[in-house]
Symmetry: C2
Subunit: 233 residues, 2 copies
DNA sequence: CCGTGTGAAGCTGTTCACAGCT
DNA sequence: AGCTGTGAACAGCTTCACACGG
């Protein structure tokens, strides 16, 4: 019975990534088994959350014992598709794009920055610190096909975003990490994740403010429950 | 009646930021009024979502007409706390930190990058492109107090994250945008938003894969790269 | 009429609680 | 005994549908 990945929620998928990181640490420490409760403590999560997340993909645990650290880590690597190197292109060789091209998390552990593109002649042929040559974006379709690039990191100015995005999916790129402010009209088979830094900062700004005076409205107090940070394991 | 901001969900808060961006465009275009439905079309959202979000903070609409663009924009600016400039510090002057220090969205429209800190002597006294001097992190507490810095952008190596984070909140910083892989044990009055780029990329990788064969026991399943086009119902 | 504001319904993700395996 | 795996209960966010005001 196959499982459509689209039926897995994004929150579950990103927790898998967190679990993987913890398991790598535990494996390096030589820990053999870990219980959902022990893992939960590391993330301030509920332990049944972890068991449910993992149970989506199979029965990896041993009742009375917990999960085998090494085996579970291997399973998560496979589930996340990191057992073969995924090729990543950076589109936009400005400051952010170049910083991301050298970001350690992007060029290791299942990912390789395989190309960097820009349309500014002044940037073409420069190199990232790790030596990847900035290529004219007109070569993107050919290089995506030739090198088997599956993921694009979009770090172009907002006005160029939808053109650059379209070029990506028309070239066969399957997923886009979008650092621009634009929302991309991508076809449904292309997965887009927006990392809108401005929105993140404004959201933080919102929560800094004090109690908000509602003009002319009578509302019961307190409104809603305060979010408890305490979770049971 | 006052409204505790913590009772507002993060999804609502970040949508406010999106609405604000759209309203700025509409205002520049000279549009006087906009309906929740017209706004919704821009975001692929349900219109009652927008009405509910806005109604949390007051009655800004005119029945039969919609929302006044200029007035609603001003309200959102106030709600998000962007009517006075918020001072932001970058902690960590590596490539990512320096790129973020010059990121246009961080230094405008209600935010100002007021300081950049690092502990590497080789980086102290260098400047961002916009001219902010990199300062030794030992001066962070004094400068946070002196300059009224409220938000920190944490872009240090993972191993330095919790020390740097603690320094931030002990110095009076109220919100942290955390680009490190570490999870910060911040006190409850400090708002932390994790922007874990590695997790984002691994999550994308997860969704690229084809249908997932739920394993019988220990058969190695091949990584499918074919894509199902049908949406879940 | 039209579009907002809002209770009610619906849905999705989280937590509980326990049966069952080791 | 200890811990997983899972149906059931729960909570919170989203959508519906309509009363009400312009």
């Amino acid at each position: 019975m196959p499982l459509d990945r689209r039926s897995v929620s994004e929150s579950t998928a990103s927790r898998l990534s967190l679990y993987l990181r913890s398991l790598a640490v535990l494996e390096a420490e030589g820990v053999a088994h870990v219980s959902s409760q022990a893992l939960a403590r590391r993330f301030d999560l509920n332990s049944s959350q972890i068991r449910k997340d993992l149970a989506t993909f199979g029965e990896f645990g041993l009742r009375g014992v917990g999960y085998g650290v090494a085996a579970l880590r291997r399973h998560l690597v496979t589930i996340l598709g990191l057992d073969e190197t995924r090729r990543v292109a950076i589109v936009g060789a400005g400051r952010l794009g170049m910083a991301l091209a050298d970001y350690p998390g992007f060029g290791s552990g299942g990912f390789a920055i395989t190309a960097v593109f820009d349309d500014d002649p002044a940037r073409i042929s420069t190199r990232t610190r790790s030596g990847v040559v900035v290529t004219d974006v007109s070569h993107l379709p050919a290089l995506v096909a030739e090198l088997g690039i599956e993921i694009a990191v979009l770090a172009v100015p907002a006005r160029a975003a939808s053109d650059a995005g379209r070029l990506c999916w028309e070239s066969g790129i399957q997923a886009i990490l979008n650092f621009t402010a634009a929302r991309l009209p991508a076809p449904p088979n292309v997965h887009v994740k927006n990392v809108d830094l401005r929105v993140r900062l404004e959201t933080l700004s919102f929560y800094i403010g004090g109690a908000f005076p509602l003009p002319g409205k009578e509302e019961p107090w307190p409104r809603g429950r305060s979010r408890s940070l305490h979770r049971r394991t």
